[in-house]
Amino acid sequence: MTSTLDVVVGTTLPELSVTGDPTFVVSAALATRDFQDVHHDRDLAQQRGSKDIFVNILTDTGLVQRFVTDWAGPTAVIKSIALRLGVPWYAYDTLTLSGTVASVDDGVVTLDVVGKNGLGDHITSKVTLVLDGRTNGAGA
């Protein structure tokens, strides 16, 4: 991780693959305080027409944030995460996140982040951040 990234439009982020095993799906749902049964009970998820339990939206937002700060480092300050949701992410499928710098404007970096799994595009998102919060007012 570094805070002195050479960031220009078109810069790509290192890919991140996350295995959506049941432990991941369930622990992330509970850590985000999302107790909907479709995220932890396969029988009920299937009764409701899903193939299996699936990852909840709050986890997607968290993963996108992790993906971006893994690259940008601890001084980065995330300003926004806009998610468009696509195909579901069922247990046992792997999500691969990839990202590209879309613009750099007055210290604000905009990234296009896509999360693909076996079914297609699960996450299509736009993230804005400043790379060094120490010079851009990270705190209160």
């Binding site: 850590a31 985000t32 001084t75 995330i78 926004s80 995460i81 806009a82």
Partner: protein
């Protein structure tokens, strides 16, 4: 409910403005942060390490901004507040028949990072309601809610735009029988019912039910077989042979189910073993006949229950067959 009535009801919710501020259950705290970073696999040290947070320009440990919503999530047995616009709008569209839901967008803006010990409240407002629109899932309405999280001083720390599509699942699947209109099912809760589970050997049967026909497997020698068996006399790649039953038959035997409870069904209900005109016997629920009125030999006919996709998962619509009193006896 007409489109005008939906828009009028939506306007009432929108003009009511934001819901009352609802506090998170606990202040921003390290145990919840730890659970979250461990589950997400986030190694950013500013969420757990005081020195690292200070080195990065914060006053101390901060919460991951993507946890904004987590702080105001309710507990395991949560009940939505009566002034919550998302709940109110959901009810309006459910009652208008747009019973399925799928979230399409979740956009969050973070004004600043929260520190351990701070407390937040959430308020939610209904924004645009657009519809009816034809979508791939069916006709539906899009609506946006905007939530704002505020700190103890009332200053916004994060905002979220949440966009939902509430839709009427497509159930118009007329089969060769021409019986395109599904039967009513007010006594059932399809979101809780067990769905049929099709195997390679029974897929043709359930495809038939979806098309509103009863398909009976035909063996190599031309005789009929139900329930279907593996068609070992055919190549695996081929579909089994079947005939389409008339759907008419008589009650060969039956039971009345009083207990235990069955998810999504009202008790008691009748399960009839029906001898079809084609000679095979098939189990199914006999509907619309009081248990005391069922008799052996009663004429019955097949009906089809078209269920919507599920509200929470956006799962595909599905169909179940059942029996009702036969036309012969009714006329």
């Amino acid at each position: 409910m007409s489109s005008e009535q939906i828009l009028a009801a939506a306007e009432e919710v929108r003009s009511a403005g934001p819901s009352a501020p609802r506090p998170g259950r606990d202040p921003i705290n390290l145990p919840m942060i730890r659970n979250w970073v461990e589950a997400i696999g986030d190694k950013n040290p500013i969420y757990v390490d005081e020195a690292a947070a200070r080195a990065a320009g914060h006053d101390g440990i901060v919460a991951p901004p993507a946890m904004a919503q987590v702080w105001t999530m309710q507990g395991l047995n949560a009940v939505r507040q009566t002034d919550d616009p998302l709940g109110r709008m959901t009810t309006i569209l459910d009652e208008a028949g747009f019973t399925s839901v799928v979230a399409t967008n979740c956009d969050q803006v973070y004004h600043r990072y929260l520190k351990v010990g701070e407390e937040v409240t959430i308020t939610t407002t209904l924004e645009d309601v657009v519809g009816p629109k034809k979508t791939g899932l069916g006709e539906g309405w899009f609506f946006n809610t905007r939530s704002v999280w505020r700190d103890a001083a009332g200053e916004p720390v994060a905002e979220m735009l949440f966009r939902i599509l509430k839709f009427m699942p497509k159930t118009d699947r007329p089969g060769p029988s021409g019986n395109g209109q599904g039967a009513s099912y007010d006594d059932l809760d399809p979101s809780r019912m067990m769905r049929p589970s099709a195997s390679q050997d029974t897929q043709f049967f359930w495809d038939g039910v979806a098309a509103h026909e009863l398909r009976i497997q035909q063996r190599e020698d031309g005789t009929l077989q139900h329930p279907p068996v593996p068609a070992l006399w055919k190549d695996k790649a081929e579909t089994t042979d079947y005939v389409v039953a008339s759907g008419r038959g008589t009650v060969f035997s039956y039971v009345v189910h009083h207990a235990p409870k069955v998810p999504g069904r009202s008790l008691p209900f009748v399960v009839a073993l029906v001898e079809l005109e084609e000679g095979v016997r098939m189990l199914g629920e006999l509907r619309g006949v009081a248990p005391a009125d069922v008799t052996i030999g009663m004429p019955v006919e097949a009906i089809y229950l078209d269920f919507p996709g599920d509200d929470e998962t956006g799962g595909a619509p599905w169909t179940l067959y059942a029996w009702q009193r036969g036309a012969k006896e009714r006329s």
